[in-house]
Subunit: 301 residues, 2 copies
Amino acid sequence: MPLTLEALAILDAIDRKGSFARAAEELGRAPSSLTYAVQQIEAELDALLFDRSGHRARFTPAGRVLLDEGRGLLGAAQALADKTRQVAGGWEPQLTLAVEGILPVAPLLPVLDAFYRLGRATEIRLRHDVLAGSWDALASGCADLAIAGGEAPAGAGLRTRVLGSVEFVFCVAPQHPLARLNQPLGQADLAAHRAVVIADTARNLPLRSAGWLKQQARLTVADLPSKLAAQQAGLGVGSLPRWLAEREVAAGRLVRCEWTGGNPRETLHLAWRNGEAGRALEWFRRALAKPGVFAEAIDAG
Amino acid sequence: MPLTLEALAILDAIDRKGSFARAAEELGRAPSSLTYAVQQIEAELDALLFDRSGHRARFTPAGRVLLDEGRGLLGAAQALADKTRQVAGGWEPQLTLAVEGILPVAPLLPVLDAFYRLGRATEIRLRHDVLAGSWDALASGCADLAIAGGEAPAGAGLRTRVLGSVEFVFCVAPQHPLARLNQPLGQADLAAHRAVVIADTARNLPLRSAGWLKQQARLTVADLPSKLAAQQAGLGVGSLPRWLAEREVAAGRLVRCEWTGGNPRETLHLAWRNGEAGRALEWFRRALAKPGVFAEAIDAG
DNA sequence: CAACTCATTCGAATTGTTCGAACATGCCGC
DNA sequence: GCGGCATGTTCGAACAATTCGAATGAGTTG
């Protein structure tokens, strides 16, 4: 019987209660039972765990090691039991959310908080992807639930639900030449200026492009914050989601330009794989579909 | 019976052998015994661990979680048992070695390697201290065995053994004014130049000073590599242990200066606290006292 | 479809664990 | 210094959980 958790629990009780007798009481067994159990471990480990010279038994160094580290094991065992129970109840051990990079993280935090309050063992992972990246992550199993822009790739076994759309506003740095052009921009105005574009993170699906026109010189960056920084620095021009653009324009760090024919929009979908869904996925699907979660960033419809 | 290691071991065997029957064979028990045990866990956890629809039982997701993470627990339990056994056998759970900062680490590595080959669970921690720092670490219990320079502080209950002495060579950067002075240096020559000194790491014992003269301007650094770098950069002058100085002088990065009255020496001691010693301490005491370990750096006697 | 392997069920048997009382020891207050 | 008090241990008896073995039913393979 090479070490049992029960034995570790006994040592724990003895230490907490201070004596075999009290520990036995807590555990609802006779003191002699504990003596027997302890002797059992000592024989198994070839180690004296208690110093019996005095009146009451004291832990030896070896006993102390077993006790201290054993507590870690007990905790881990408890956690594992919990987790198993929850998985059996339909709660995934982990769930990965892929969020389109043009969305802010802030609105997500209360949702996460609410989920954690449920006390479920499901470990949440958050990732940001841009353009086709979210669809790709979902289709390839790297994510379980995605908020993705544009249309779903066909034949990937995905189900979707429209969340609304994000409006893109064309912005340039205050010191940029285009900032002085007091009329709506046309294609011709843009071709002469470098565009800042976000690289698509998709690895499998065909790449998509957004925010730039062919022939236009471009600076490719990895994510929205980088794009913002680049545009603020005057390194290039481009469209930014309205929630972000408004903040920056108000602060005077960017200037908004009108666009001939109105601002472009990107439709956002909540998406998940077809098939058996765990309860955490179900929960997040409901929570994120609620209108208002991304009210700041997404326009209904 | 809130989850037992034995149960996890059974799951492990079932997975490895592929069936209840073969697992039972490996464990030397009847198959029905495993069935019983598994049902026991399932009841306890309120979780189906096996999918019994087919001919042979397959793990459910919950079962898989319990199996995978349970293996970690089993390993940890095994390791804990080992460690306890070793501590009971007199091997400390951990041992901290404090090495005087003027010594190289290289000669220590084969010794550590030899220790690791013993297969003991004792975790070794290595720390570097300078001047009184090693004595201090030892006396305050922050270290168990030290290689320290100078004389042991009185009344701290320490035992020592002389290892030998380190010779200090006065060095300056090639471009330093003192490099051009072609005669042995005296006190007067030094007072005009900034000295690079190593800060004493002692926190409790009275601080000691080394390598500098009063009134001399000085740059204080934390360790030997910093001191070396500072001297190479010409930021100051000072003595370096011979093993280091020779290397640098040979490489042309420093110039050696003679000293009126010969080079100073620092005696090094192997030191440990009086009282009950564990077997790892004993082992290292023997290993480090062997002549030749630090032959490169320490001169016998 | 027959032979095989597999997991489960059931009652009986066994094994290890628990109990309770008696004992030995160390500690404290009077 | 001595009687209580609490401690941990020992021992045989009682117990209960676990294990076994044989029987059963179900699935796979040639």
